[in-house]
C-alpha cells in the first residue's frame, strides 16, 4: 500500500486540485501510468503512478488538497485494498459525483479565466461554477485557529467535514475524533458544500463574480504580499541597442542554433553576468539576514498560451551558459511551461526575474518583485530615436529598462552600478557572445 500525496510542483504552491482523474478507484494501474491531471497555482501537471496495484482515490476531482496530503493510494493485490479502504473515500465521492453529469466539460473550462469575457450575457455558468466550487477551501485556514487533534483533522479531511462548524468536546474545547464522527454522520454533506456566496451573487446581477483560477489566486496573494512587505524603489536606464539589434540579426542569419535568439536572451545573458559581479543583487532578505544565492537562476515572466495569467519559467545557472544555450533553453522552458507540462524545476528556484513587454510596444514600466527575489527587471520596447552624438543628431535605437529593488537587500548605489553594468553589456554585445 503506498500513499500518493499532492506533489509540490512549484515554489509557491500550497495546494493543488485534481482537474481530472484518468483512472477510476478500483482500477489496476501500473507504475508510470498517468493517474490524473493536477492543477497547481502555476500550471497543470500529469500525476503518474509510482507503483503497480489497485488505485483508490481519496480526493475527488475539483477538491483542493494541501501539498503532501494523501490524494490516492495504490494497494497491493486486487480487491482487498479497494474494499478495505472504500468506506472513508465514499464520503467525498458522494459530494462530487452528482454534480458531474450537469456540467461535464466544465472541469477544463474552469481553469481558463477567459470565461470572464463571454460571461456577462450568461447567467447560468457562474451558478454552475459555484455549485462545483468546493466551499471548504477556506476551512483549512480557519482550522489553524481551531483546536483539533491530529486524528480529528485527518478524519475531517477524509470525511469532508468542515472543522470550523464542529464543536469540540475534548479537554480545553479540543475537537476530537468523536466530534468529527458525529458531525460527519449527522449532516448531509451536500448542504455544507453550498457556498453562502451563491446568494450574494444573485443579489447583485450588475456584477459578475468570476472565480479566479488557482494560478490567479496565487498571483493575487503573492503580489499583494510583495507590495505590502517589500520596501521597493526603481532605477531606470536607457541603453543604446543598435549594436545588439544588428548582432542579433547577424546571429540569426549566420549561426546555427541561434536562429531564434531574442533580445530577452541577450538580457538574460547580460543580467547573469552582471549578477555574478554584484552578488548582493542575487540575494534575499530572510528572517533578518541576507541570503546570498550561489546559483544565478533567471525567471522570465511570460503569459500563458491561453487565458489571463502569469508564468515564470526559469533558466537555471544562466551565468554558466552561453548565449546560444540560453536561447535554446529559454525557448524550451517557456514552451514546456505554456503547454502546462513543465519539467521539474522549470517553475522554481529563480533568483532574479526579467519581464519584457517590449514586444507589446510598451515604452517602460515597473514590475512587482516576486519575493524572495530581491529585484526584477522590467524591459520596454526598442525605439528609433534621434540621438545627439558629438553635437550632431543621429538616428539610434534605445531601450528603457527599470529595475525594481527590494531596499532591504541592496541600495541605490548598488542598483545604479548594477544597471550601469547591464547597460554596458547590452551596449557592447560582443561581451555577451564571448565565453564567460
Amino acid at each position: 500500500m503506498s500513499d500518493i500525496n499532492m506533489p509540490k510542483l512549484s515554489d509557491t504552491m500550497e495546494e493543488g486540485t485534481i482537474v481530472e482523474w484518468k483512472k477510476k478507484s478500483g482500477e489496476q494501474v501500473k507504475a508510470g501510468d498517468v493517474l490524473a491531471e493536477v492543477e497547481s497555482d502555476k500550471a497543470t501537471f500529469d500525476l503518474e503512478a509510482d507503483a503497480d496495484g489497485t488505485l483508490q482515490i481519496l480526493v475527488e476531482q475539483g477538491v483542493p488538497a494541501k501539498i503532501g496530503a494523501p490524494i490516492a493510494r495504490i494497494g497491493e493485490g486486487g480487491g482487498e485494498a479497494a474494499t478495505k479502504q472504500d468506506a472513508p473515500s465514499k464520503a467525498p465521492a458522494a459530494e462530487a459525483r452528482p454534480k458531474e453529469p450537469e456540467t461535464p466539460p466544465a472541469a477544463a473550462e474552469e481553469r481558463e479565466p477567459t470565461t470572464q469575457r463571454s460571461a456577462p450575457s450568461k447567467q447560468a455558468p457562474p451558478t454552475e461554477k459555484t455549485g462545483r466550487q468546493p466551499a471548504p477551501q477556506a476551512a483549512p485556514q480557519d482550522g489553524e485557529h481551531l483546536k483539533a487533534s491530529p486524528l480529528a483533522r485527518r478524519l475531517a479531511e477524509e470525511m469532508g467535514v468542515d472543522l470550523a462548524s464542529v464543536k469540540g468536546s475534548g479537554p480545553e474545547g479540543r475537537i476530537v475524533k468523536e466530534d468529527v464522527l458525529a458531525a460527519g454522520g449527522s449532516r448531509p454533506k451536500a448542504d455544507r458544500r453550498r457556498p453562502q456566496t451563491a446568494a450574494e451573487r444573485q443579489a447583485g446581477p450588475d456584477v459578475e463574480v468570476v472565480e479566479p483560477t488557482r494560478m490567479q489566486a496565487t498571483i493575487a496573494r503573492r503580489m499583494a504580499e510583495s507590495k505590502s512587505t517589500v520596501p521597493e524603489f526603481q532605477v531606470t536606464v536607457e541603453a543604446r541597442v543598435d549594436l545588439a539589434v544588428s548582432l542579433r540579426q547577424q546571429l540569426k542569419d549566420s549561426v546555427a542554433g541561434a536562429e531564434k535568439v531574442t533580445m530577452t536572451d541577450f538580457l538574460v545573458r547580460a543580467c547573469a553576468l552582471a549578477l555574478r559581479k554584484f552578488p548582493e543583487v542575487n540575494s534575499s532578505w530572510v528572517d533578518g539576514k541576507f541570503q546570498r544565492k550561489r546559483s544565478i537562476n533567471i525567471g522570465l515572466a511570460v503569459a500563458p498560451s491561453q487565458g489571463m495569467g502569469l508564468l515564470v519559467p526559469v533558466v537555471h545557472d544562466a551565468d554558466e551558459k552561453d548565449l546560444i544555450q540560453i536561447s535554446i533553453e529559454s525557448r524550451q522552458v517557456i514552451e514546456r511551461a505554456r503547454s502546462g507540462r513543465p519539467a521539474e524545476g522549470d517553475l522554481s528556484g529563480a533568483t532574479f526575474s526579467i519581464s519584457n513587454l517590449g514586444m507589446f510596444g510598451v515604452d517602460e514600466f515597473t514590475a512587482i518583485i516576486n519575493p524572495p527575489e530581491a529585484a526584477i527587471l522590467a524591459v520596454g520596447a526598442i525605439k528609433d530615436v534621434a540621438i545627439v552624438e558629438d553635437g550632431r543628431i543621429v538616428p539610434g535605437k534605445v531601450m528603457r529598462m527599470t529595475l525594481s529593488v527590494d531596499h532591504r537587500v541592496f541600495y541605490g548605489a548598488t542598483a545604479a552600478q548594477f544597471m550601469a553594468e547591464v547597460k554596458r553589456l547590452i551596449e557592447n554585445p560582443v561581451t555577451l557572445v564571448v565565453p564567460s
Binding site: L151, P171, V176
Partner: protein, 342 residues
C-alpha cells in the same frame, strides 16, 4: 520473526510461583552451571549473600573464584569485569544500587559500550551489570533514584528492566548469553513480588516490549516498576468505564516501537510513566517517538509522568509524594480522555 519468543520455548512442565529475587538467583545458578566462564563480582555478594539476597548461597556452591566479593570500589569492579570479558569470561556484576554505578560511569560509557566498536569488532564485551533502582525504602537522595536514562543514552549498551519474575529469569539468561554489555535494571520494590515462573531452561529475548493488558481507549506505557503500577491503574479504571491498554517497555535501549505504535494507532491516546525524572527522561524519548510515528492518529497530546523534580527526600511522606502512584496514573489517563479529574 527471527527472534524466538518465550512462548515458543516454554517447556511443557508446569510453572511455579516464585519471588522475583529467587527467579534471578535461579537464572544465575543455571547459567553458572551451564557455562564455566560465567562469574559474579560485586560488593557483599558472597559471604553476605547480596544486599538484596539475590546471590544467597552461591558462594558456597561455586566458590570464591566465581563469586567474588569486591572492595567498595565500583570503578574497579566494572573495570575488572570489562577486562575479563574482553579475555573470554562472562562477568555478571552486581551494583548495590544504580546510584553507585555513577562511580563506574566512565568505565561503562567509555569502555564497556565502546570497546567493541573501537577495536573494529576484534574484541567483545559480554558482560551484565545488575543494579537495583527506585525509591520507597527511605534510603534518601543518594540511594533512591532511577537513573536508567543515563544508560539509555549510550549507543553500545543494551538497557533492560524486567518487571515480572518470569521476565527477570528469562531476560537475565539472555543477557548473560549475549555478547554485548547489558545494563540489567532491577527494582528494589519488585524483589519480593511473586509471579509464575516457567519450569526448566528458557530465555526471554531482550529488546522487546510486552503487551500486559489489552484495551481500546488509551495506551499506557510503563517503564520498570511503573508498568506494574500502570496495570493496577488500568484495572481500577475499569470502574470508570475506561479501557486502558498497558505496555511494559521492558527494553529501554533499544526501544521496541512496533507494539507501542500498533497500540497507539488503535487507541489514539498515550500516557507514558517512569519513576525517574521525566524531564529528559525515558518517557521523554518515548513521547517524542510516539508523536513522530503516530501524529495523524493522535486524538490527544501524548502525556508523560515521572518522579518529582527533587533529590529524593528521606521523610516518608515526602518520599511517597515524590514518586508516581497508581492514582497519579489514573488521574493523567482521565485527563487525557477529557474526563473529569478529581
Amino acid at each position: 520473526m527471527a527472534t524466538a519468543t518465550r512462548e515458543q520455548q516454554k517447556a511443557p512442565a508446569a510453572a511455579e510461583e516464585k519471588l522475583y529475587r529467587v527467579a534471578l538467583r535461579e537464572a544465575l545458578t543455571e547459567e553458572m552451571d551451564r557455562d564455566d566462564t560465567v562469574y559474579l563480582i560485586g560488593e557483599d555478594i558472597g559471604k553476605f549473600g547480596g544486599a538484596y539476597r539475590v546471590t544467597e548461597g552461591l558462594l558456597d556452591r561455586f566458590g570464591p573464584q566465581r563469586v567474588v566479593d569486591a572492595p567498595i570500589a565500583e570503578e574497579v569492579i566494572v573495570g575488572t569485569a570489562i577486562g575479563s570479558a574482553m579475555l573470554g569470561l562472562r562477568p555478571v556484576v552486581e551494583m548495590m544500587t544504580i546510584n553507585f554505578s555513577l562511580v563506574a560511569y566512565d568505565q561503562i560509557v567509555n569502555n564497556a559500550a565502546k570497546i567493541r566498536y573501537m577495536f573494529g569488532g576484534e574484541v567483545k564485551v559480554p558482560m551484565v551489570i545488575r543494579m537495583p533502582g527506585g525509591a520507597g525504602h527511605q534510603l534518601s537522595a543518594q540511594h533512591s533514584h532511577s537513573l536508567e536514562v543515563l544508560y539509555g543514552l549510550i549507543p553500545g549498551l543494551l538497557v533492560v528492566a524486567p518487571t515480572t519474575p518470569e521476565d527477570a529469569k528469562g531476560m537475565l539468561k539472555s543477557a548473560i548469553r549475549g555478547d554485548n554489555p547489558v545494563m540489567f535494571l532491577e527494582s528494589m520494590s519488585l524483589y519480593n513480588v511473586r509471579g509464575m515462573v516457567p519450569a526448566g531452561d528458557y530465555t526471554t529475548p531482550l529488546g522487546k516490549a510486552a503487551l500486559r493488558r489489552e484495551g481500546s481507549d488509551v495506551t499506557v506505557v510503563g517503564v520498570s516498576r511503573m508498568a506494574v503500577l500502570a496495570n493496577e491503574a488500568a484495572k481500577q479504571l475499569e470502574e470508570d468505564d475506561i479501557d486502558a491498554e498497558v505496555i511494559d517497555l521492558r527494553s529501554i535501549r533499544p526501544i521496541d516501537w512496533q507494539p507501542i505504535v500498533d497500540s497507539v494507532r488503535k487507541t489514539s491516546r498515550c500516557v507514558v510513566v517512569e519513576e525517574g525524572w521525566s524531564t529528559y527522561g525515558v518517557t521523554a524519548e518515548v513521547v517524542a517517538g510516539v508523536q513522530e510515528r503516530c501524529f495523524d492518529y493522535l486524538d490527544a497530546p501524548v502525556r508523560r509522568l515521572g518522579g518529582a523534580q527533587v533529590p529524593m527526600p528521606y521523610n516518608q511522606g515526602l518520599e511517597r509524594a515524590s514518586i508516581p502512584t497508581a492514582e497519579d496514573i489514573k488521574r493523567l489517563v482521565r485527563a487525557t480522555l477529557g474526563k473529569k479529574v478529581d
